[in-house]
């Protein structure tokens, strides 16, 4: 057995000891951008736990901070952005918000990996697929000889349902769905415990989207990976995830089981978001959400959603609601549930 496999097993054993614990614990994370116009609080106090093997959806409109959250978990926030405070504990060991850069490089791909937005366009156009697959492994000190490398590449391609000839192809010879599969293969090549997927199917046609999602979900289940699926499409979320986190203007509005949320959304924003969706039953009905998303440079006081909220009370414009667990594993930040 190669050294890599042993290392991978090592990581797994380490995390299996702490099986009851969440794989990823994010506590009061703040990520700010220091722009000329002012401080943009792109992620403003986000707290949630991601359990082992769970698929969590992170939805929100454009500019709500969902991609920033993913990038901060990968510690890939660029200036003028900065992780301001808070922590993100992975496997109960390393705090992604504060570990050294060197340690972070070890953690990436091995414990947490990301399929970035538009990943399929970020493949290196002059490198064969097999070399791109091995690139990440080599960065982590995995030494493979020619035959082992070939075997590893084949195993990875097989795992994402690609033909083995794809190994010798260049990205331009692949369709969008195939490129996206290559990106998935790179992301899971070190069997991470957490996979962040930022709109992995946004540029794909519906049929291909469904196929790629099926592959991602199968891998996730087989490898016991915990996944955060980031996106704006509530339909895709309903199809794929176990837990749903709704983000609005840099803060979480609601986190809970996806069935619970679709059946009985607690936060008014979630409720409105769901009512805007075209479903099979209610044909020809349209509900929009009045108002516009607030500018994060100069956000409203209190609850950020109160100017658009149909249930807004006096307190909403004054005090930001606290993040509380209303029911088991169902969290919400809204004054409507303040009494409980």
């Amino acid at each position: 057995m190669s050294e890599t496999a042993a290392q991978v097993r090592d990581v797994h054993e380490a995390s299996e000891e702490s099986v009851n614990e969440a794989v990823l614990q994010v506590k009061d994370l703040h990520v700010y951008y220091y722009t000329e116009a002012g401080v943009v609080k792109a992620v403003d106090g986000v707290t949630f736990d991601l359990d082992r093997g769970v698929k969590m959806g992170l939805v929100g409109e454009s500019g709500c901070g969902k991609s920033t959250l993913a990038m901060s978990l990968m510690r890939m926030i660029k200036r003028p952005g900065r992780i301001e405070s808070g922590q993100a504990l992975i496997n109960g060991r390393d705090d992604l918000a504060s570990v050294s850069d060197e340690r972070m490089r070890e953690l990436r791909l091995r414990e947490i990996s990301l399929i970035p937005q538009g990943a399929m366009n970020s493949l290196n156009p002059v490198m064969r697929v097999k070399d791109q697959l091995l690139d990440g492994l080599e960065d982590h000190g995995v030494k493979l000889n020619g035959r082992e490398g070939r075997e590893r590449v084949n195993a990875l391609l097989e795992s994402v349902d690609l033909d083995l000839d794809v190994a010798d192809m260049y990205p331009h010879e692949l369709s969008g769905g195939m490129k996206q599969r290559v990106c998935v293969a790179i992301a899971i090549s070190m069997e991470p415990s957490v996979l962040l997927a930022d709109e992995p199917t946004s540029a794909l046609d519906v049929v291909v989207q469904r196929q790629v999602m099926a592959t991602i979900e199968r891998l996730q289940a087989e490898m016991g990976i915990s996944m955060i699926l980031i996106g704006h499409d509530m339909g895709l979320m309903a199809q794929s995830v176990d837990q749903l986190a709704v983000m609005y203007a840099g803060r979480l509005a609601e986190v809970g089981d996806v069935h619970d949320i679709f059946e009985e959304p607690l936060h008014p924003y979630t409720e409105l978001l769901i009512s805007t969706l075209p479903t099979l039953g209610r044909r020809g009905e349209f509900t929009g959400i009045p108002g516009i998303t607030p500018a994060l440079v100069n956000p409203p006081s209190g609850c950020l959603f109160h100017p658009r909220c149909p249930h807004a009370m006096d307190i909403c414009s004054e005090v930001a609601p606290t993040w509380q667990e209303i029911r088991p594993d169902h969290w919400v930040a809204c004054h409507l549930y303040g009494g409980e």
Binding site: D163, A214, G235, I274, L280
Partner: protein
């Protein structure tokens, strides 16, 4: 049967590949479509398909932006590309468009006013400056915008929703009979999407404007359209009443598409995909048989040898598939019948 306002007749559009013309792409093949008749017949027709289906090409042809390689674009029964200038002028007034990206449609050099005053000037809608201002302000209030908050600003100073509404206001200024809407909501957030779709329906119901809704999103098409036409690699695979097409798809490709819609309901999940192509490259174009045959789970021998024609499978339903070859063939002139949906109010007609 009265002539429709705008029609494609047996239209094929081939994009030639570069100077050496080695690789030609057939974007649209032998297409028929018609839209817009009298006021009572106003309808919303969805042209749905994946990328490469030719749906955008169809929109461009209907807007007179590109010339068909063969076949005719008919405007009020006349061949548009043989028509004199005054017919084109009339055509430009009656057929308007709303585009995908509500930012790209603005010339960054000008304030948003330019967008609205240009059609007023070019079509001579106003005799004086005061009248022009009145027309522009009326158009803005008509789409729910306050003129004072909109005029005199640059496009980047408006929100995405305001920008898209101003483009709708521009299209409405000219009091058109047909609006071609190419993916009007694919780049806007969910909270705004419903608002824009609602206003499209209002245009049809209150102003009698027929709308061609070009989209890849069957879920929204299902919600605002009466009729739907599904394209695959430039050919119509299925057309008809949207309710029946979505609820009971007949063509294997439509079945695949419909079953892949991500409905926002966790209790109604996709299940395992039936399409076996998975990660393989798409089949080469230009086969002699049915274009979908290489991917089709129900393909028969005949599918690889001959192109299927459109067959009637219901009163308002046509499918291009040999599974239905016992049904009567739809004559090209009959395509209007398939798409003339007289269902009065769609919101009542829920299952």
């Amino acid at each position: 049967m009265m002539t429709s306002l705008l029609e494609l007749q047996n239209v094929t559009k081939v994009y030639s590949g570069g100077l050496l013309r080695r690789r030609a792409t057939v974007a649209l093949e032998d297409n028929y479509v018609s839209i817009g008749g009298s006021k009572s017949e106003a309808t919303i027709l969805a042209i749905a398909g994946e990328s490469g289906s030719g749906k955008t090409t169809m929109g461009m042809l209907l807007l007179g932006f590109i010339e068909p390689t063969s076949g005719k674009v008919l405007y009020k029964g006349q061949d548009l590309w043989e028509s004199p200038k005054d017919v084109w002028r009339d055509f430009r007034r009656q057929v308007q468009a709303i585009f995908q990206d509500p930012f790209e449609v603005y010339n960054p050099f000008y304030k948003v006013d330019h967008m609205l005053t240009t059609p007023v000037k070019k079509f001579g809608l106003a005799d004086s400056r005061a009248e022009q201002e009145a027309i522009v302000e009326k158009a803005l209030t008509g789409v729910g915008l306050r003129p004072g908050e909109t005029l005199g600003r640059y496009p980047h100073q408006l929100s995405g929703g305001q920008r898209q509404r101003v483009t709708v206001a521009r299209a409405l200024l000219l009091d058109p009979k047909v609006i071609i809407a190419d993916e009007p909501v694919s780049m806007v957030d969910a909270s705004l999407r419903a608002t824009i779709l609602k206003s499209l329906r209002r245009l049809k119901n209150e102003m009698g404007i027929s709308i061609l809704y070009i989209t890849h999103d069957l879920a929204t098409a299902y919600h605002i359209c009466e009729d739907i036409m599904i394209l695959y690699q430039g050919s119509v695979v299925e057309a008809g009443d949207v309710e029946t097409v979505i609820m009971d798809p007949q063509h294997p490709y439509t079945k695949l598409l419909v079953s892949s819609i991500p409905w926002p309901d966790p209790n109604r999940r996709w299940g395992e995909p039936e399409d076996v192509t998975k990660g393989q490259a798409l089949a080469e174009r230009g086969t002699v048989g049915c274009k979908f045959a290489p991917r089709c789970p129900q393909a028969m021998d005949i599918c690889h040898e001959k192109r299927p024609s459109l067959f009637w499978t219901g009163d308002t339903r046509a499918v291009s598939c040999f599974l239905y070859q016992d049904s009567p063939v739809v004559q090209p002139s009959e395509i209007n019948k398939v798409l003339t949906n007289t269902a009065s109010d769609v919101s009542v007609a829920a299952p």
